[in-house]
Symmetry: C2
Subunit: 627 residues, 2 copies
């Protein structure tokens, strides 16, 4: 089945991209742009910067002791593998023969660099380089191996065994041989191998991969790495930790692997530990956009309620990693709240991280850009610590573009699930679902103009079994929710999961409608979030909106306040809010409470956060000071 | 005259430490602790870490091409020089013969490392090291030379010419020879040589030093350094910049040098440029404590109104550098507002940066410490990027301890000035002032228990001239200000400078009293300061107060709100505020406005910000969310 996560047990079963096909809408569009532009854009950069060329140079067998000039950072192999994964999903989805040819060429170049014993890495262990596994803290060797394995899992499920998957299995066997009991009983400084090996075990049926994944999970917290344990989650055992901490992508890849291991080994204690950490992270360490990893320093989770919008890091890859964890928790527990977070992250962090044309990217996704900074020079790789003002075509540390590419290519797999009773719809997007429930075909068409409109229609195209259930995730923010049955009866619903039973009694062609309000609404922060106290934001459905300085006279966002007593309104296709534009003098900025100036009344248009910085340099803010 | 800044012209003339003597009070106490503990503490660390030993190893003449293992960072020489400066001030103040002996020993060791042509640096230009001036961006050679020269200026004014001052003059001559017209027409990546050469010119009467300082000032903005121009103020000419920016200490040392050059060359345009930058920095880039340099990244000024209390860097050295600039502007312009800022920085940043025992230090001075972190291991040098929770005995980059030591040793020089009419009192501290005004002796005694009490008494001890004026800086926050003349008449005063004329008509022994309220007061931020919107702080006189988690049940500062409708009260020697302690559940922290829980009423004691972190691990905040 063409799906990224396939647990052997759990509340819901995933569907593959051969069962769920996006038929348009925002995610269909994002997937089309990903296919038409992003994947080849990444391939171009990986060639141009010679990060693929590293494999050729290893394969050419340099003289011992003569180091070659390696291109890119020590983890650049992983970008090649993540792109290979994106290509595998895309080939599976469309059968693109040109891409298949590229995939095979890439396979040959990667394979040529593999050592006899399965070891494969262009930064270590080759002539003139530091020895294998001599720097587990920062060397990223197992991290790279993990991404190769994840790509192989994608290939196995989209295509079947081939040279690429054989390369990856040799790598996996080598990792098990080397890091098993009695071997190097340590971990990699960047989690990833855990989730990869667990999934490879699922995809191949080989239990030793799962066991090795379990060992890596359990070794976290045993302080087998030097210093900085907090940064790479080696400070505390996964099952003992209270909250996600340290480097956000590492923490969330590790959580994903921990859920996989917990599910496959029946380790409820470990599963509960990840849920507990997730819940507290969502309550105290997550931005309105779903962005996680609140601080630039160490690309890390900040402390509780340290959620500064202008210093928010909210890395694109952390968004992807959070979706990975949330999806696994959805499948394991059947709790639809995780789908709320996937939706929030997808619409705000992931979609906004890629330009509409698919050729430039945000690495960090702060919620506040203080100044309209000039655009950096085009066409060159930029520092990944670049602030949030502009998307870049590539980065010196360029984990996000390829990660986004693989995620968009597989996005249909996150839309719906099944169980023995029917189908659960987690994300609202135009699509067809054609699957088998309890041995019999069930085919549905989902039509919606969400989130512009709050109606989701499910049409039954075929139901060859008996009584079936369709379950909708009803977002926690949804108001005025109604479910219209095929017989025309209407039920009022409160947010949470809602199930429509006994579809089997209705004929194909009959429809169910889920309706709810997607009117733009004011949102207020928890009073403990210091950095946005006294502010409000506007959301429309799952979409977080923002103000850009281009859209009002003067353009100084520091001088804007909004009136939350007036509901946001839709006009001319855009959400508008009542605001006041101030003109405050400069002086020592602290003193006895003094009445602020009244400012001039204005009405300010907002735009989706994901569309920020697409019209040229602008200051931007999500959280608007309230009068 | 024993004073750090001695302009040849300006509105006010500085007094020396032989004319103003601290006779107790907070600053007398700080100076005593500095003398008794801090100076020798620094000497101990400089020996123990072998940063002084670097001079010995250069002097021993290692074989060319065989690099010796140097201790410390590339700028460690500057710590030795700043300590020498502190010693020079302290010897001048007290005549401490033990310290004089140490000073001479240090002089010999430093001098032994000097090259024939005057060059002196232990990190460059010696056998096996990179050549002189091969890395002006980061090498800090002229920065180190500048601190040597500043120490020599202190020595010249406290002692007179000696071997130390001759070493420094040879360095200064070498710098002028090397960096003058036709030489290396570039700058150092860290400003400091400018202010040092300008003062050496004043101290020696040698005009070429001033001219070289002027050249260095004018070269800023000519982009003679590689990249990062913004960071070291090489992006824009000093006279063209609108605001202080980049690395805060660099920016403020440069500003200090620019004022010196402007004053000595009559360059009003340059002086006005620094005033303009200062004003905008104070209005938009300065914390309530007077802390400057709002961001950890690059130890730099942040953007306008980006003043996050928990991410405030507010480096101790930036506080010192801001005092340096503000003092020069005071002397040049006679505007007492600069004294307000010196007072604010001194009481909150500088005094708090040194532990009461004088043996541990803050490098960064954030206004909010989110968690009560465990104390780091004692007795070892710590990273200077350590957050604000604990003072450390020393740092890997240890600029602050020696910088604080020299500043406290010379503090009396910032208390008062003269002009042809009389004396101006800028800082309120018990002291004696014994000077000459217009050719005749004027001696005063200042008595005060400020800031606990708002009375400053000036007693005339001697007035051998005619009519004289005493001028007080009346702080901008002062309320209910009254001036009581010797004849008992009382005048109501508004903040600003206030002058009492015709002292000469009264007999010695008669007194003037300045009275004002130092009742604790609520302070609100400018509505444009995002990070503290909806908060209030308490100030008492110039002293910023804070809450520590040790002082209330539960100790979770996230759950505290204060009622600003109730004025803070003094009880049992501490300021108390009316508060509510909440107990809020965890959930997705963003949603429609909901009434917050009422919390339980409590009364919370506050303490001066400078005394934070002196009772063990604690969370701390200056800005308190208001109900």
């Amino acid at each position: 089945m063409r799906t990224p996560v396939m647990p052997s047990t759990g509340t819901f079963r995933p569907l593959g991209t051969e069962e769920v096909r996006l038929t348009g809408g925002h995610w269909g569009e994002r997937q089309a742009v990903n296919a038409a532009a992003t994947i080849r854009h990444c391939l171009h950069w990986l060639e141009a910067l010679d990060w693929i060329g590293n494999f050729d140079r290893v394969a050419s067998g340099e003289e011992p002791g003569r180091p070659f000039q390696r291109a890119g950072r020590e983890f650049s192999d992983s970008e090649v593998y993540k792109l290979a994964e994106a290509m595998a999903w895309e080939i599976g989805r469309t059968g693109d023969s040109g891409l298949e040819e590229e995939f095979q060429k890439l396979t040959a170049r990667i394979g040529a660099a593999q050592h006899e014993d399965g070891y494969l890495n262009t930064a270590f262990g080759n002539p003139g380089q530091e020895p294998r596994y001599s720097n587990l803290e920062w060397g990223h060797e197992l991290y790279c191996a993990g991404h190769l394995i994840q790509a192989a899992v994608a290939r196995l499920r989209n295509h079947g065994e081939d040279e690429f998957t054989r390369i990856a299995r040799r790598v996996a066997d080598h990792v098990c041989d080397t890091f098993g009991p009695g071997g190097i009983e340590r971990i990699c400084g960047h989690a990833e191998i855990e989730v990869a090996l667990a999934e490879l075990s699922r995809a191949t049926g080989e239990p030793r991969y799962l066991e090795q994944a379990r060992l890596f999970i359990e070794r976290h917290g045993q302080k087998t790495l030097k210093e900085n344990g907090f940064y790479y989650q080696d400070d505390t055992a996964v099952r003992d930790a209270e909250v996600l901490r340290g480097h956000a992508v590492r923490a969330l890849y590790l959580s994903s692997g921990a859920v996989d291991v917990a599910v496959e080994t029946g380790d409820d204690d470990l599963l509960e530990a990840v849920r507990r950490q997730w819940d507290r992270t969502v309550a105290r360490r997550t931005h309105l956009t779903g962005g996680m990893g609140s601080q630039y320093a160490d690309e890390a989770f900040g402390r509780d309620f340290a959620l500064s919008p202008d210093r928010a890091y909210a890395e694109s890859c952390a968004g992807i990693a959070a979706v990975m964890t949330a999806w696994r928790l959805t499948l394991a527990t059947g709790d639809t709240r995780y789908g709320d977070m996937i939706e929030r992250i997808a619409w705000n962090v992931l979609s906004g991280a890629v330009a509409p044309d698919g050729r430039s990217f945000f690495y960090a996704n702060p919620l506040h850009q203080r100044t309209a900074d000039p655009e950096p020079p085009g066409g060159q790789a930029l520092s990944h610590t670049l602030a949030g003002g502009h998307r870049a075509p590539w980065f010196n540390v360029s984990c996000c573009p390829t990660n986004l590419a693989r995620t968009f290519a597989q996005f249909a797999a996150y839309v719906a699930t099944t169980d023995d009773g029917g189908v659960q719809i987690h994300q609202f997007t135009p699509c067809t679902i054609d699957t088998v429930v309890d041995g019999s075909r069930l085919a549905l068409t989902v039509e919606t103009n969400y989130p512009e409109e709050g109606r989701v229609t499910v049409r039954v195209d075929a139901n060859e079994g008996g009584s079936r259930e369709i379950t909708f995730r009803v977002p926690s923010w949804a108001e005025d929710v109604r479910l219209t049955h095929p017989d025309g009866s209407v039920r009022r619903i409160t947010p949470g999961a809602v199930t429509v039973g006994r579809i089997g009694e209705f004929a194909p062609g009959e429809e169910i409608h889920l309706d709810f309000s997607v009117a733009p609404r004011w949102t207020r922060p928890d009073p403990r979030v210091d950095a946005v106290r006294g502010c409000a934001a506007v959301e429309q459905g799952p979409v977080v909106l923002c103000a850009e300085s281009l859209d009002f006279p003067g353009g100084d966002l520091d001088e804007l306040t909004v009136d939350t007593a007036v509901p946001p309104v839709l006009r001319d296709g855009a959400v508008h809010v009542a605001a006041r534009v101030h003109d405050r003098p400069d002086a020592w900025p602290y003193g006895p409470a003094a009445p602020d100036d009244d400012g001039k009344a204005a009405e300010i248009p907002l735009l989706p956060f994901r569309l920020r910085a697409t019209r040229g340099p602008a200051a931007m803010r999500v959280w608007l000071p309230a009068t």
